[in-house]
Amino acid sequence: MANAAEIATAAARADVRNRWWLAAPALAIVLLAAIGPLVVVVLYSFMVKGDYGDVKYWQFSLDGWFSVIFERDVFDDTLKLADAHLTILWRSVKLSVITTLVTLLLGFPVAYFIATCDRRWRDFWLFMITLPFWTNLLIRTFAIQEVFRNEGVLNSALLWLGAIKRPLQIMFTDLGILLGMAYVYLPLMVLPLYASLERFDFRFAEAAADLYASNFKVLRRIIIPMVRPGIIAGSILVFIPSLGAYVTPRLLGGGRSLMLGNLIELQFGQGRNWPLGSALSITLTGGVMLALLVYVRAASKSGSGHHG
């Protein structure tokens, strides 16, 4: 006869088995095709850079890491903080934050619209959201340029309507980057939001409305908190990739300013400094990982009640 402690451990063992074998395929794939390579990158970050790209194998050095934070001035050889890196980091983070906010502000209504429309049409609208993204990113970006350009569709229409007197300069501006990024990342926000909203039980909304909550307050106090996991998933999916984005900023913003993605790419490309590129990307990954870890910890502490 098993005692309670044994039962508890047996149950726990079953739980552990499940959580390992179910996660195994994903873990294995990520391990082989993503983490393994990441180890390579970590190693690279500690090696001496090769003369024309790559690294000198098994010659170790901390230069890559050193250059993430410090740089030796080209001219007077003084040691100083790598303010170029910091400036670029700051700009990228700012852009990503704004992009995330804009996609959230636009994406939430879209997801909400799809989730609350007639059940039979939901898959259709969902498909309509992703369809533009079946067209290649470059083509899409070029097409966006056609829309935003001074002689483009948008400006022509606005001029024709008399809404503006002279074309709005959107291309090659931060606004252009932002609009482009919002466009490109919209589905990454809408789909997770939809996935969470689709299941929302509007009886909770009714209960709140019954308690004098206007529809806006219902949204703010009931719907948004209850679909929070979806909002967070969407925000992660937009924020992280936009930190590393470079095609859109380059094409729509004119590419006069480097983004984090460009900076890292430069080191692996024309800069031929793989250790620095590796160190920079590990820094980025580490930061994001840490943030995510903290989030999941917090969420699983406060949100475990949902599973009851």
Partner: protein
Amino acid sequence: MPEEKSAIEICDVTKLFGDAFKALDGVSLSIRKNEFFTLLGPSGCGKTTLLRLIAGFEYPTAGTIQLHGKDIATLPPYQRPINTVFQNYALFPHMTASQNIGFGLEMLGRPKAEIAARVDEMLRLVRMEGLRHRRTTELSGGQQQRVALARALAPTPKVLLLDEPLSALDYKLRKEMQIELKRLQLETGITFIFVTHDQEEALTMSDRIAVLSGGRVLQVGNPREIYDCPGDRFVADFIGEANFLSGEIIVATKDRAQVRLASGADILARLPDTAPQQGKVTIIVRPEHAEVHADGRPSPLSGTLESIVYFGTDTHLHVRLAHGDRFVVRRQNSPLQDAALVAGATVGVAFDLAAAQILRN
């Protein structure tokens, strides 16, 4: 017209689900201010639907609903001074018990201190002081129901809709809550519209009761009227226990009639205005208004005592009448039991004129 006395005026309301299913069918009710009004009716008869129409979550397919004399068709729920205890509670899972209870007041923009005080009061009222910080998902069924009740009470609405608000509570607690609710009604002037399946609850608490069936209102009246003078067989049968005897009127005076039963015996019965004055009729006798005796006294009805069912406070005696019908007699338990009453005995059934009533067809 006592227009201003009525809190809710429901006028010929019909509600269709889909194209064909009539959940409500020409319902008209006038609920007075500060009344404790109960909706009674079988499962699926449209009680919840009616409450949802009043609260404003659904719109009538036809008909109008007035609140204090004003048509509220276009008033959204959050502008109606009406709160609801939902049948399924609908507690906010991301909030604690206190937060749920305080939600309405918060939405009304009341100051923090006032909300806190009121939440405390409500928690005390529903005996949940110790569980204020629990997530609602960590509460038992009855505890959830109490939070739902407290949440609806907290903002002191003009009208309170309660959809089986005490069904998950144990007997003792339910009694306490009944008393609290009744007290609140008397003290605060709130109009209560109450749905319950507990007949005792309905009969003791209500000022008036409406009996619904299949989306229609069958009878509206105070508990005594409903219980003692049910309008038709459905109401009689639905509320409490009832024995039905069929017979034919032989002589009818203003308010009573002599009826010849199937067994051939004649009895006297009350004859309400709404009932037929001649021909075949049905008579109702409540089980507790009849007596069984085994001493061979002559009695209009007699038969065999089939079974004796013990019910705590009382015992039900099931009698198979001579001509085949069943007749149930309820008798209060007392420590002195009648030894002659054993299953199989031949017994007579007796009741008074006042206990027998002729029903509307």
